[in-house]
Symmetry: C2
Subunit: 670 residues, 2 copies
């Protein structure tokens, strides 16, 4: 089993085995140096990766951002030394030998798992299993959509994935596989590291799936090969490139290939091999070189592959240069992530109309109406919903669906696949040229939380349109009523949570979300109708402040400040009337986004929160997160447990979230 | 297509069609009365459900808690009127006609989605799609485990599931199906409502999976039938009962069967049919009766089926009574959910030993050592891990694995299926007789959050053993480092979050978690070693207080109170030394559980938090949730963004979570 793989038909004097062994050696040595990491996967998949990178992958180490490069996703992200080795060997300039030596150290580009943004060639952050394959589905979809929107010479690349057993056990893999098969994303090619091992031991401890049959059931082309036979792997990839379906290549490999006693066992998965085992592996593999030493011939064979890519990217630049000027400018704008020049003006005019019309819409409806303005103005939006289109109000006039084989549409029916949708949106955003938004119920952010977290960690402009955002959804009951969700989303770093109060705030929230080049946003929107509260037009986007005085005290200095978001703004406004009728001057502060408010200067924050006033926060969710704004005398009116099934007006009364309760809470503290 | 189904070979004068139409009528009428709900599914699946309940399901409406009843799980929970109708028709005493008329009203047993605990016969809360089928896997596993642990006459029931297209699109379904197939849970029978419709329209908009092939790939027996042909359905169920694999029965149905213009369309899914359509359906179905009126003959046919179950449960009671006294007492204890009589003593003795030994263990190791004591003492625990056994330290000596066909073991290799594991644990807990615990990394609570939420909503004793609970996990980097997770778990109502600081606190945390009959717990445990801080034995479980003074100020009245949890207790203790060396009397309060602390009386809370002292909280996570304990002068030392890859000691310094930083934060506020 551990015989060196057959020599490839390769014109260089360097053999396939030597090139693959360079990956193996760097991987085991870097893990050993770090005294932590995962050598087994890179050693097992070195042959497959060598074939992919040396014979198929279209990439240019000198131009890692080349828009039409093939995307390579290491879904089994724990095998990060595989990609770091390849990036170094092929000549990515920011992946130096020194970086490999600093594997897993603070500040190194070579983090424990591949982190997007740390180095060129890392297309997405992976590690949480299944995310890579699901993100790749979005990349493959974005490729087809961009080809349809521009032209299929300018955009014509593959998306390759290396996935492990863990990726395929995760539920998200089902959503991804099912979606890719349905949409016939035939330029998506998954190389499965079929090594029969997971952390607990042989995969037979926990799984008996026939993966070939499973992928076929979802409309994939499949083939199984010996992952240590380079010609077999190459033949499979060549066939996959020609398929009219996405392809699974099951690569039977030996984890830790080359390790004399540990190969083929879970012992190689997540720990350094140890000095003795590494010594033995060097012998077994015929790799006498010192740690981190790559013989010149081998390095230059690898570098030659990288250099060949530079010619390809140069050829593409000519295609790009030959585009009609207007189309080229549009391409460049979209790839840079800039919004159209007239975007802000469009929103401002729309806001002006809203301030005059004063519509009493649910904010999900306000969101749709904003999108009716936004989508025609920004051709880069790609909308969708996880089978709640009519509830999330995410589809606007003129958005046609993306269909199997026809990717010209701008709306994706994601199916009941919240997690797959979120990961695909990450892939769409990472791909470039498109801004994805997608909807489900806010309570189901739980289903896609691991991908939302990655949107935030990778700083991607993904917009989550999350409707039915409280007990205000009514009869569907506690399983569908978010209570802790707004708080728990606010807890995620770099995630913008926006809970607008009316049509104007919703338009502003969309504007803010679209303006974030490096941040995902969640829009929390109501099912139920709300009154208009922003009835005077402001040129300034007030939501962008995070919090602002919506209504001043009517007469005299304010004694009470009511802080609220979204649907509870209306309750706060009525409570203000009650209090003022009783002679208590009361202000209302709208707080659509904690994150944006916290970014204001201290003086603005202090002034807005109303120094010296009694502060009461009102939100139909848990209190967590509000205390920092409330001060010692502050109060909170909201939820302290799960919701219930019933008409929403009755639920608000049942749970005591009423103007009367707010007024009483304020008075108690005066 | 809408021809009435063929009359069954049924001895009663009432036809199958009449019995099924009773479900259809009640469902459409209750939805209409509520002016909200989902009539399409109950009308489409009425034939299948009638066959299941009238010819196969083992249940006793007079004794809904009969331990050996078949479990029926309505995974497609939006079709709740299906089960409410059946419970009423078969004679469950708490499901009156009045309850049906109060469908979706506050306080009714008939919530929008089936809520566990609202009425007998509702085996689990469903609605979030895919949860039911995954929970049912746990029930089916528990059935086999209890049969192995007691005897297979006392425990010998099926678990039936009705699942929809949405359930099968959700990723969790993959984890559930794969696990059930691997474990050969042959008494699990899934009836798939194959109606070709989801909310957005025809399923062909978003999915092309060959479900039969997919289930076969995971080791299931499969059959496809006309869901309106009662004999075909009956034949399929009878065959499934005899299979040595779990079974999928694909039931091709017409959603909203009977509705004259809307049947077979998404229009019947989630809205009342409307008066005209209902009138037409009455004609089409040959159901001339008034809303909520069930003719006596039909009702008594249904009631007869219910009554037949009473005889079966009585027969089972004899089996139970015939058990040897000791075994019967053990059975009764486990079914009641009581812990063994000597449990508290066992823990106390173990704590005494720990206080003397002062081990410097990681709390994940402390957890394993606690389990080494607990598992022999409590035969009802059923452990497991999502492929991180050696990292979560969840397997103790003498716990053998559950294997396909051999369910005598007490340890489940759940595979890389966090979500499936969590849902299965809900099913195990709901089944009764077992206390499930399962491990993964704390960061992956995100992967199973929808099921954790259901543990809390259903008040189930499920114990989540979540290790690697902060940047303290080190080199694996930000994708594996929880930052917001402790806060976001604390946000979930009725979930106990326990973050112990050393071996004694970990033992106490386990004791508290096991004592919760109506609450799930998350144990947040470190990867890294920690010093012993509880070195004097206390009979009292101090963790049960949620927060307590761990170290008083050394001399004089305390000026500073340091609040911390888990691994940051050691940092707080060192900070206390630094401060006291500088003449600042400082206390340390350990806060292993906010929920338990908040349940203490106000005087205790106030005293513990240290009135008048400067308070600094230290936790290697986000600040959210701490402010309410900190007062106006309070400070926080922790994380404000994502982590990084590196050795953990360096990460703590890098992010400024050090004794020096804590001492400085305190001094700044003095």
């Amino acid at each position: 089993m551990l015989q060196p793989a057959a020599a490839p038909r390769h014109s260089a004097p360097v053999s396939h085995a030597e090139m693959a062994n360079a990956i193996r050696a760097l991987s085991m040595d870097a893990v050993q140096a770090a005294n932590s990491g995962h050598p087994g996967m890179p050693m097992g998949m070195a042959d497959v990766a060598t074939v992919l990178f040396s014979r198929f992958l279209k990439f240019d180490p000198k131009n890692p951002a080349w828009p039409d490069r093939d995307r390579f996703v290491l879904s089994a992200g724990h095998g990060s030394m595989l990609i770091y080795s390849l990036l170094y060997l092929t000549g990515y300039q920011d992946m130096t030998l020194d970086e490999l030596k600093r594997f897993r150290q603070i500040g190194a580009r070579t983090a424990g798992h591949p982190e997007f943004g740390h180095a060129g060639g890392i297309e997405t952050t992976t590690g949480p299993l299944g995310q890579g394959i699901a993100t790749a589905v979005g990349m493959a979809l974005a490729e087809r959509a961009m080809a349809a929107q521009f032209n299929d010479k300018l955009v014509d690349h593959y998306t390759y994935v290396i996935a492990g057993d863990g990726c395929l056990m995760e539920g998200i893999s089902h959503e991804a596989i099912s979606m890719a098969g349905h949409l016939k994303l035939n330029k998506l090619i998954v190389l499965w590291d079929d090594n029969l091992i997971s952390i607990d031991g042989p995969t037979s401890l926990s799984v008996s799936d026939d993966q070939i049959k499973r992928f076929q059931a979802s409309g994939w082309a499949t083939i199984a090969v010996d992952g240590h036979d380079p010609e077999a792997v190459a033949g499979a990839i060549a066939a996959a490139q020609k398929s009219d379906k996405p392809s699974l290549i099951a690569c039977r490999t030996v984890i830790g290939y080359g390790a004399p006693t540990k190969a083929g066992t879970a012992a190689t998965h997540g720990s350094p091999l140890g000095a003795d085992e590494i010594k033995g592996a060097r012998e077994k593999l015929g790799w006498p070189h010192a740690p981190f030493e790559i013989p010149d011939a081998i390095l230059s064979a690898w570098r030659g592959i990288g250099a060949a890519g530079t010619a390809k990217s140069a050829a593409w630049e000519k295609l790009h240069a030959a585009l009609p000027a207007e189309q080229r400018a549009e391409w460049d704008r979209r790839l840079k992530g800039d919004l159209p020049a007239n975007f802000d003006k469009t929103i401002s005019e729309y806001k002006q109309k809203l301030a005059a019309d004063k519509p009493k819409w649910a904010t999900r409806k306000s969101s749709q109406m904003a999108l009716e303005v936004i989508n025609p103005a920004t051709p880069e939006t790609l909308g969708g919903s996880a089978d709640l289109t009519g509830s999330n109000n995410t589809k606007t006039a003129g958005l046609n669906p993306v269909k199997p084989g026809d990717y010209s549409g701008r709306y994706v029916y994601y199916g009941v696949r919240e997690h797959g949708m979120a990961a695909a949106m990450n892939g769409i955003a990472l791909h470039g040229g498109l801004i994805p938004y997608g909807g489900t119920f806010l309570v189901f952010t739980d289903y896609c939380r691991p991908s939302i977290r990655l949107s935030a960690l990778m700083e991607q402009r993904v917009i989550y349109v999350m409707t039915h955002d409280s007990i205000g959804l009514g009869e569907d009951g506690p399983t569908h009523q978010p209570v802790e969700h707004v708080a728990s989303l606010r807890a995620i770093p770099n995630l913008l949570v926006l809970r607008p109060a009316d049509a104007v705030e919703t338009a502003e929230a969309w504007q803010v979300a679209l303006q974030q080049k490096h941040r995902p946003s969640v829009l929390a929107l109501t099912r139920q109708d709300l009154p208009a509260v922003r009835t005077t037009h402001t040129e300034e986007n007030l939501v962008a402040r995070g919090g602002y005085e919506l209504a001043a005290a009517e007469s005299g200095a304010a004694k009470v400040t009511l802080l609220a978001t979204g649907s509870e703004i209306a309750i706060a406004m009525t409570a203000r009337d009650l209090l003022q009728k009783d002679g208590v001057p009361t202000r209302v502060v709208s707080m659509p986004s904690f994150e944006l408010f916290d970014a204001q200067d201290e003086a603005y924050q202090e002034k807005t929160l109303g120094p010296g006033t009694v502060r009461i926060a009102v939100e139909a969710g848990v209190r967590q997160g509000w205390d920092r704004y409330l001060g010692i005398k502050g109060g909170f009116v909201g939820m302290s447990g799960f919701g219930a099934s019933g008409p929403y007006e009755q639920l608000y009364k049942h749970f005591g979230i009423t103007p009367e309760a707010v007024a009483a809470a304020a008075k108690q503290r005066l």
